[in-house]
């Protein structure tokens, strides 16, 4: 366990040292997510909001979108990071050197995910935190919910990111993963639109994304929106998703390791 934690810490530190070399990084950390957020907010604002799925006024809309974007940014940063790190590591030959070591591949995958999460989303999460306070969604009496929400996001995103890192071990060009998880995840997980407003087929699709459960739980806990499925169902759904993702991660890492022992390449094509 000690070695597992050492490897995770090393991955987090390495990412921090590798990526923070330019002030431009703050554009992706804060400016672009905020621009995206306000683009959607001002697209919705002119329309009359009379208790549409629990969104009653401008402030509720802000809180609704703030929570959606906060969770989405955490999950999406995992996709971007897995893609870019896998490419860099493969080209730089460091992936092969890492595969030469006896370090736990699971620790490496989760370490990379957690490192990316901590460094890439903290500024935007702070912004969303202030937004929730401004809209009085978070007040003194329910302030304890903020760390609980953050913990939920960290655990879910890390498990999700670990799985994506394992997926990218297989391929030098898994850009299809970017396509699958960009627009579909934004739409179906309810980042911008309440899932309950979807037709039945779209609600079924939304159940595939762990982000859906995460957003629903956060909005339920902060009294922004009720879930038609009930909070117990959302938590159960999230736990099942996390379990499946962990199992998939372990399976993929095992396969990648076996494949690497066969061919010497941490890639399938």
């Amino acid at each position: 366990m000690k070695k597992f934690l050492i490897v995770m810490k090393a991955e987090i530190t390495k990412q921090q040292q590798h990526d923070y070399h330019s002030a431009y990084v703050y554009f992706s950390l804060l400016i672009w997510p905020i621009l995206g957020f306000f683009e959607v907010y001002y697209a919705y604002k002119p329309f009359e909001l009379t208790d549409y799925m629990g969104i009653e006024d401008g402030k509720t809309l802000l809180a609704f979108l703030g929570t959606g974007f906060m969770a989405y940014t955490c999950f999406w940063s995992m996709v971007q990071n897995a893609w870019s790190m896998a490419n860099q590591e493969r080209r730089g030959g460091t992936l092969e050197i890492a595969s030469l070591t006896p370090a736990s591949r699971l620790a490496m995958s989760y370490g990379r995910a957690l490192g990316a999460l901590i460094q890439e989303v903290w500024m935007f999460v702070c912004f969303c935190g202030f937004l929730l306070m401004y809209t009085k969604t978070i007040r003194w009496d329910n302030l304890f919910l903020l760390p609980a929400v953050l913990l939920l996001l960290i655990i879910s995103s890390t498990v999700w990111g670990g799985m994506l890192n394992a997926v990218f071990l297989f391929s030098r060009d898994a850009s299809i993963v970017m396509d699958v998880f960009d627009m579909p995840m934004t739409l179906f997980s309810g980042t911008r639109v309440p899932v309950d407003s979807f037709p039945c087929w779209a609600r079924i699709v939304s159940m595939v994304f762990p982000l859906t459960y995460c957003i629903n739980i956060i909005r339920f806990a902060l009294h922004i929106q009720k879930s038609s499925r009930g909070w117990q169902a959302e938590i159960l759904g999230l736990l099942i998703c996390l379990g499946v993702m962990t199992a998939v991660t372990v399976f993929l890492i095992g396969r990648a390791e076996r494949h690497n022992r066969e061919t010497g390449e941490l890639q399938f094509y």
Partner: protein, 286 residues
């Protein structure tokens, strides 16, 4: 310890890597274009990268593996370093089955290759070594001491906090060597460690390699295209061609093989190892 040792052999005290009849086949997927159709189809073909290799790497010795491009040197190193598993054959390290205990082996070996890859360019030398050391489970004061010692050994103390992207080729190669020594390996596999370096830096690296084997007691397997390097460093040499060992011996023994073939002795001087190597490969191919 990352894994329990399985299948320990009787000869536990042997201080060497022993490879016997190693074979490695790859499956190559070829794209066949049809006359009609856009995508073509894929056809599998088996490539015999290494056909039958038996060799030994004792500790305190530098073993050379020479051969032309495509001879199977890199595949051999990858098998010996437990990066890939052999298709058949046996491989033991100090009496331990290396195929079954590859995690145990990985703690005790390392690979150093020539060129400028395998390092994080944006990180400093210290940060690179700290990261790679952590992957071996090292941490805290022990790791700091190890890093300081290695940076001193390879002469990078003053550049320890400079990002690698600002290093010269020679400095990068020295850092590669430090990286390869971070886990204090018993055996080192060096794939063209002086590739592209100027003669002064290359000489420094050769001296370091010699010390690692003869003073520190590590077993080293070295591949190189610079014959003079092999001549200077290697205690024993294997010559590979088309995935097989076609000759082996000390440099004197290999040169001696030419004595039976008067046509290649073009001067009164003793034939060089380079002449011997070319002649042996030519004879094998004819």
């Amino acid at each position: 310890m990352y894994g329990a040792v399985k299948g320990r052999l009787e000869d536990q005290d042997a201080r060497k890597i022993i490879a016997q009849h190693l074979v490695k086949d790859y499956i190559l997927k070829e794209k066949i274009m049809e006359k009609s159709g856009l995508f073509g189809r894929k056809q599998k073909r088996v490539i015999h990268a290494v056909k039958d290799i038996s060799l030994e790497i004792p500790q305190e010795k530098i073993i050379g593996v020479l051969g032309i491009n495509g001879a199977g040197k890199t595949t051999t190193i990858r098998m010996l370093a437990s990066i890939i598993a052999p298709t058949s054959g046996s491989l033991t390290m100090n009496g331990v089955d290396a195929v079954k205990n590859h995690l145990w082996i990985k703690e005790r070996i390392n690979v150093i290759s020539g060129g400028e890859r395998n390092l994080y360019w944006r990180l400093t030398a210290k940060e690179n070594l700290r990261y790679f050391g952590s992957l071996y489970g090292l941490s805290g004061v022990d790791l700091d001491k190890r890093i300081a010692y290695l940076l001193r050994t390879v002469g990078l103390e003053e550049a320890a906090n400079v990002p690698v992207e600002r290093y010269s080729k020679g400095m990068k190669q020295r850092l590669q060597i430090a990286r390869g020594l971070i886990n204090d390996p018993i055996y080192l596999f060096m794939d063209e460690p002086t590739l592209g370096l100027d003669i002064v830096i290359a000489k420094e690296i050769r001296n370091l390699v010699s010390d690692l084997a003869h003073k520190e007691g590590r077993g080293i397997l070295l591949t190189t295209h610079y014959i003079s390097e092999a001549e200077e460093l290697c205690d024993y040499i294997y010559i590979l061609d088309k995935g097989r060992i076609i000759a082996e011996g000390t440099k004197e023994q290999l040169k001696g093989l030419l004595a039976y073939e008067p046509k290649v002795v073009t001067s009164v001087q003793e034939p060089s190892l380079e002449e011997a190597l070319i002649e042996i490969i030519n004879r094998c191919n004819s």
